[in-house]
C-alpha cells in the first residue's frame, strides 16, 4: 500500500510538465475561439513539420549526452543542401532528396567535430553544444553570406544578394512547397473535427523513422549507447569504445536533424536563411520536454505528446492573449517565454531529482542499519 502511494507521487512529479501544459491548453482553447476543425488541421500540419526534427534528439539522450543543442548544426547543413538544390532548379521531391544527400557529408563532418569537442567536455555536453551552435552559426554565415556566389557558384539572382555574392534573407522554396506532404493527397472526415488534411507521405516517413529508432535500440550499438549513457567507466571497462560511441550518437543526431530541417522547410515553403536554424533547436527541445522527457530519458511517445501540447499552446496562446488583453503580442511573447521556461524547469528538475535520489540512498542505508543494530 505504502509502495503504491510512493509510485503515484513519483509519477506525478515526472509528468508535472505535460500536466501543466494540458491545463494551460485547456484554459486557452475556449478563450481563443478557434474551431475544432482548424485546431486539428493545424496540429496535424505541425506534427508533420516538426516530429522528424524532434526524433533526431532521442539518440544523444540515450547515449547520456543530454539534450543535443547541437542539432542546429544539422539544421544548417540541411539549409545549405536546400539552397544548392534550389539554385540548381531541382524541384519537388527529387530536389528534397538531393538536398538531403548534399546535407549528409556536411552533417557528418559537423557531427564528428561536435562529437570530438563534447568528448573533451564530458558532463558538460549541453552547455558546450549550445555554445558550439553559436560558433558554427558564425561559420555558416561566413559560408552563406560571403562564399556563396564568390567561391561556391550560385547562378540564380532570385536567391543571390544584389551585390553579386551572398544569399538573400529569404530563399523561396515555392516549387518544393509541401510537395512531400501532398505527394499522396489524403484527408479524413471526423464527426466532431470535420475534414482534416493529412500529409500522408510525411507521416509515413516519420513512422518509418520511429521504427528505425525502435530497431536501433535493439542493436548492439544501441545497447552500447545505453551502457555508455549510464556509466562511461563501467562501459569502458567492459571494452566498449566510449568516445567512438558518443561521436556516433552525435553524428547520427546531426544527420537526422539535417533531414528533419529539410522536411520542416518544405512544409514552410521558404528558408529564412539567417534565422530558421537558430530557433529550431530551442523549440524542438522545449517540445520534447513538454512531452514529458527529461535530460536522461526520452521516448517516442514524449515526442508526439510534446508536439501536440507545445504547438497547441503555440496556436491558442496568441489568440487567447488577444482575446483577454486585446493585444496579440502578449501571446507571442508568452510562447517564447514559455519555451525558455520549460527548458529551465527541466534542467533544474534533472538536478533536483539526482540529488533526491542520492539522499534517498542515504535514508535507505540508515534504515538498513537501524534494522541491523
Amino acid at each position: 500500500m505504502k509502495k503504491k502511494k510512493f509510485d503515484f507521487r513519483a509519477a506525478l512529479r515526472r509528468s508535472s510538465v505535460p500536466l501543466m501544459f494540458i491545463i494551460i491548453c485547456a484554459i486557452c482553447i475556449p478563450l481563443s475561439g478557434l474551431s475544432a476543425n482548424m485546431l486539428a488541421n493545424e496540429i496535424v500540419t505541425r506534427m508533420g513539420r516538426n516530429a522528424f526534427l524532434i526524433l533526431s534528439l532521442l539518440i544523444p539522450i540515450m547515449a547520456g549526452m543530454g539534450l543535443n543543442f547541437g542539432m542546429t548544426l544539422g539544421a544548417m547543413a540541411g539549409q545549405i543542401g536546400l539552397i544548392l538544390a534550389s539554385d540548381w532548379q531541382i524541384v519537388g521531391v527529387p530536389g528534397m532528396v538531393l538536398a538531403m544527400i548534399l546535407s549528409i557529408p556536411i552533417s557528418v563532418l559537423l557531427g564528428l567535430f561536435c562529437g570530438k569537442i563534447l568528448n573533451m567536455a564530458k558532463g558538460r555536453e549541453m552547455i558546450t553544444s549550445y555554445i558550439m551552435s553559436f560558433f558554427i552559426n558564425g561559420v555558416y554565415q561566413l559560408v552563406v553570406l560571403y562564399m556563396m556566389g564568390s567561391v561556391i557558384p550560385i547562378k540564380h539572382t532570385s536567391i543571390k544578394l544584389p551585390r553579386g555574392y551572398g544569399i538573400r534573407n529569404t530563399v523561396s522554396l515555392l516549387n518544393m512547397r509541401q510537395k512531400l506532404d501532398n505527394l499522396i493527397p489524403f484527408s479524413v472526415k471526423l464527426p466532431f473535427f470535420g475534414e482534416i488534411r493529412i500529409p500522408l507521405m510525411t507521416f509515413i516517413i516519420i513512422a518509418l523513422m520511429c521504427l528505425v529508432i525502435v530497431w536501433f535500440r535493439r542493436t548492439k550499438l544501441g545497447q552500447d549507447m545505453r551502457a555508455v549513457g549510464q556509466d562511461m567507466e563501467v562501459a569502458r571497462d567492459a571494452g566498449i569504445n566510449v568516445e567512438r560511441t558518443r561521436i556516433v550518437a552525435i553524428v547520427i543526431s546531426t544527420v537526422l536533424a539535417g533531414f528533419g530541417m529539410i522536411i520542416y522547410l518544405q512544409n514552410m515553403g521558404n528558408i529564412a536563411t539567417y534565422s530558421s536554424h537558430s530557433q529550431i533547436g530551442m523549440f524542438c527541445i522545449a517540445a520534447l520536454l513538454v512531452g514529458g522527457a527529461s535530460v536522461d530519458k526520452a521516448s517516442i511517445g514524449n515526442v508526439f505528446l510534446g508536439v501536440i501540447l507545445f504547438h497547441l499552446m503555440f496556436i491558442v496562446a496568441p489568440r487567447a492573449g488577444a482575446a483577454i488583453t486585446g493585444d496579440s503580442m502578449i501571446g507571442e511573447y508568452f510562447r517564447v517565454f514559455v519555451s525558455y521556461a520549460v527548458i529551465t524547469v527541466a534542467l533544474v528538475m534533472y538536478e533536483t531529482n539526482k540529488r533526491r535520489a542520492k539522499s534517498a540512498e542515504g535514508k535507505k542505508l540508515a534504515e538498513a542499519q537501524k534494522g541491523e543494530g
Binding site: 548492439k220 567492459a238 542520492k358 542505508l365 540508515a366
Partner: protein, 532 residues
C-alpha cells in the same frame, strides 16, 4: 589432461614490483592448481592488490615500469598488455567496486559488451555494431552462468533496484559467463554482503571450484578463508610470510602473521602514562552513521576526553575515515554528536567549524588546500573566513581589510615551527612536496586555534622524516595548547607512538578502545574482529 598433475594452472615466480624505488613486492612465489581455492590475506598495503593487478595485466602496472619475475599460465610464460588479454587467457576478476550499469537488467549486465547478435544486412554495410541483440540467447546464457554459481538471482531485475549482495552475484556471474574462465580473482567479495549472502557466496565458491575453476579469494574475514580455502597465503610488507594448508592453521596464527612486525618494536611508551579517566568528555558521539562511499560507518559511539590524543585505527574500508568526515558534515550522516555539552547539527560543516572543531582532511589536494594560492592565503583563509581573524575593521566594521602583516607573521611562524620547506610565504601551495603540503594543512588547522582537531591520515604518502615531524607537531600542539586531537590513521605503529588511547574500527563499529601501549597483536585482533 595428463600433464595437469605436473603443470599447475598458474605459477608466479619471483615476482617483484617497485613504484619508483619504493619496493612493494619482493620475491613472491605462488602456484595454483585447477579447482583450487587459495585465500590471500594481509593488511592494507601488504601488496595483495598489486600482486593481483600484475596477474590481471592492469594498465597501472605497465605505466609504472612493469614488474620483475615471470607469470606462467599452464606452464607457458605470459605477459598481458591489458586486462582484456588477461580475460582472453581465462582470468576473471571481481573488483571491490561494482562495475555494473545501474539501469540494465541482470542479464544485460552479465553479457555486457559480449551480447550474442543476429546478423543482418545493414550490419554488412555499417559494421557489426548494427546487428540486433538476441534476447533469448542472452537470457539463456545468463541463466546458465547464474546456475553455475548456484545462487538464485532475478535475471530481469534492474541493477539499481537490487540489494547489494545480488549486485555482487551479478558481477561473479558475469565472470562465470565467460566460457574461457579458468581462474577467478575475488577481491573482498563479502565485504558488502550480509551474513546470509556471504554464506551463499561461500557455497558458490565451493561449487565453482568443484567445476574446475581456480579461485583466489582475498578477504579480511579470516573465518571465511578457513572454511572455504584449500591454502592460505599471508602477505606482509610485500613478502609472503606464511603459506599453509587451511586445515593446518587457525585464525590466531593468521592474525599474528599478518600484523606481527619483524622490526624491533619502537618504544611507544614515551609519555604514555598520561591518564584521562578523570578528564571531562569534550566530544561525545553516539550511534553515528555516515554514508561515505567505501568507508561506511554503521553505528559508532565514542567519547573523546579533553586534552588527550585519541587514535582511530582499522583496516581500509571499515569506516574509520567516515567518522571525521561524517562529524564534520562532508558526507550524509545521522546520529548524535555532542561537543562540550552542546548538540552539534550534522551535515553542516560551517556549524562544526564555528564550534571550534578543525579538520585536516585525508584528501589534502582536493579538500585541504587552495593549490594555486600562496601559503599565506592557505594558512590564513579559514581563520579569516570563520573567525574574522587577520582583519582590520574600518568604518565600524563595515569595511574589512586583510591585515597582510599579521598574516605574514603567522605564516612565517608556522613555516618555522613545522619546518615547511618553501622559498617564501608567498609560494604557491601546488609547488610544495606532499609532506610539506600536509604541514601546511596542519598549520591551517592550527591557525584556527581549535578546541578539538580531527586529523585524517596525516602521514599518508609522505616520507619517513616528514612523518616524524608531522606527528611531533601534532603532539606539541596537543601538549602546549591543551588541544584535544583525534588522529585517524591506517598505520597502527604511528598511532601507538603518538596517541594516548586507540579506538579500533571494524565493520563500521568501534570494536574496542585500548591504551596505546597495548601490543600490536591485541590491536590486530580487534581490527579483524567484526570485519564485514
Amino acid at each position: 589432461m595428463n600433464n595437469q598433475q605436473n603443470t599447475p594452472l598458474l605459477e608466479m615466480r619471483n615476482i617483484s614490483k617497485d613504484f619508483f624505488g619504493n619496493q612493494v613486492l619482493s620475491d613472491i612465489n605462488l602456484t595454483l592448481n585447477e579447482g583450487e581455492v587459495i585465500g590471500l590475506v594481509g593488511e592494507n598495503g601488504a601488496g595483495k592488490s598489486t600482486l593481483m593487478r600484475i596477474l590481471f595485466g592492469a594498465n597501472m602496472i605497465r605505466e609504472t615500469g612493469g614488474y620483475g619475475g615471470d607469470v606462467l599460465l599452464n606452464g607457458e610464460k605470459v605477459n598481458f598488455s591489458s586486462p582484456f588479454d588477461a580475460i582472453e587467457a581465462g582470468i576473471g576478476m571481481v573488483h571491490q567496486e561494482f562495475s555494473l550499469i545501474p539501469g540494465f537488467t541482470t542479464t544485460e549486465n552479465i553479457l555486457l559488451n559480449r551480447e550474442p547478435v543476429r546478423k543482418n544486412l545493414i550490419a554488412e554495410i555499417f559494421g557489426d555494431r548494427m546487428n540486433t541483440l538476441k534476447r533469448s540467447e542472452m537470457d539463456e546464457r545468463a541463466a546458465n552462468a547464474i546456475e553455475l554459481m548456484g545462487v538464485n538471482v532475478d535475471r530481469k531485475m534492474v541493477i539499481s533496484d537490487m540489494p547489494v549482495g545480488h549486485k555482487q552475484f551479478t558481477e561473479i556471474a558475469r565472470e562465470l559467463s565467460k566460457e574461457q574462465l579458468k581462474l577467478l580473482i575475488l577481491d573482498e567479495p563479502t565485504a558488502v554482503l550480509t551474513e546470509k549472502e556471504a554464506e551463499a557466496l561461500l557455497a558458490a565458491i565451493k561449487g565453482m571450484a568443484q567445476r574446475g575453476i581456480a579461485i583466489v579469494f582475498i578477504t579480511h574475514r579470516l573465518q571465511e578463508i578457513l572454511s572455504v580455502c584449500d591454502r592460505v597465503i599471508v602477505m606482509r610488507d610485500g613478502y609472503v610470510v606464511s603459506e599453509k594448508n587451511a586445515s593446518d592453521t587457525s585464525v590466531d596464527e593468521i592474525t599474528k602473521a599478518m600484523v606481527g612486525r619483524e622490526v624491533a618494536k619502537t618504544d611507544s611508551a614515551e609519555g604514555k602514562n598520561r591518564s584521562f579517566d578523570q578528564a571531562k568528555t569534550i566530544l561525545s558521539i553516539s550511534h553515528l552513521w555516515v554514508d561515505m562511499p567505501g568507508e561506511t560507518v554503521r553505528d559508532v559511539s565514542l567519547d573523546v576526553k579533553e586534552g588527550e590524543i585519541l587514535g582511530i585505527g582499522g583496516l581500509a574500508g571499515q569506516g574509520k575515515l567516515g567518522i571525521p568526515n561524517g562529524v564534520m558534515g562532508l558526507y550524509q550522516a545521522g546520529g548524535k554528536v555532542t561537543f562540550e555539552g552542546k548538540d552539534i547539527p550534522l551535515n553542516s560543516p560551517r556549524r562544526c567549524l564555528d564550534s571550534s572543531f578543525a579538520f585536516v582532511s585525508e584528501d589534502r589536494r582536493g579538500v585541504g588546500l587552495l593549490l594555486d594560492e600562496t601559503l599565506e592565503w592557505n594558512i590564513a583563509f579559514p581563520a579569516m573566513q570563520i573567525q574574522n581573524k587577520f582583519l582590520k575593521n574600518y568604518l565600524g566594521g563595515l569595511v574589512k581589510w586583510r591585515d597582510e602583516a599579521a598574516i605574514k607573521e603567522v605564516t612565517d611562524r608556522y613555516i618555522d615551527e613545522l619546518a615547511i620547506k618553501c622559498t617564501s610565504s608567498k609560494q604557491k601551495a601546488r609547488e610544495l612536496s606532499g609532506g610539506n603540503q600536509q604541514k601546511v594543512c596542519l598549520a591551517k588547522a592550527f591557525a584556527l586555534n581549535p578546541r578539538l582537531l580531527f586529523v585524517s591520515e596525516p602521514t599518508r604518502g609522505i616520507d619517513v622524516g616528514a612523518k616524524a615531524l608531522v606527528l611531533d607537531a601534532l603532539k606539541k600542539f596537543n601538549r602546549e595548547n591543551g588541544v584535544t586531537v583525534v588522529i585517524v590513521s591506517s598505520e597502527l605503529e604511528e598511532l601507538r607512538q603518538s596517541c594516548d588511547r586507540i579506538a579500533i574500527v571494524s565493520g563500521g563499529k568501534i570494536a574496542g578502545i585500548l591504551p596505546a601501549a597495548s601490543s600490536v597483536e591485541e590491536l590486530g585482533a580487534l581490527m579483524l574482529s567484526q570485519v564485514i
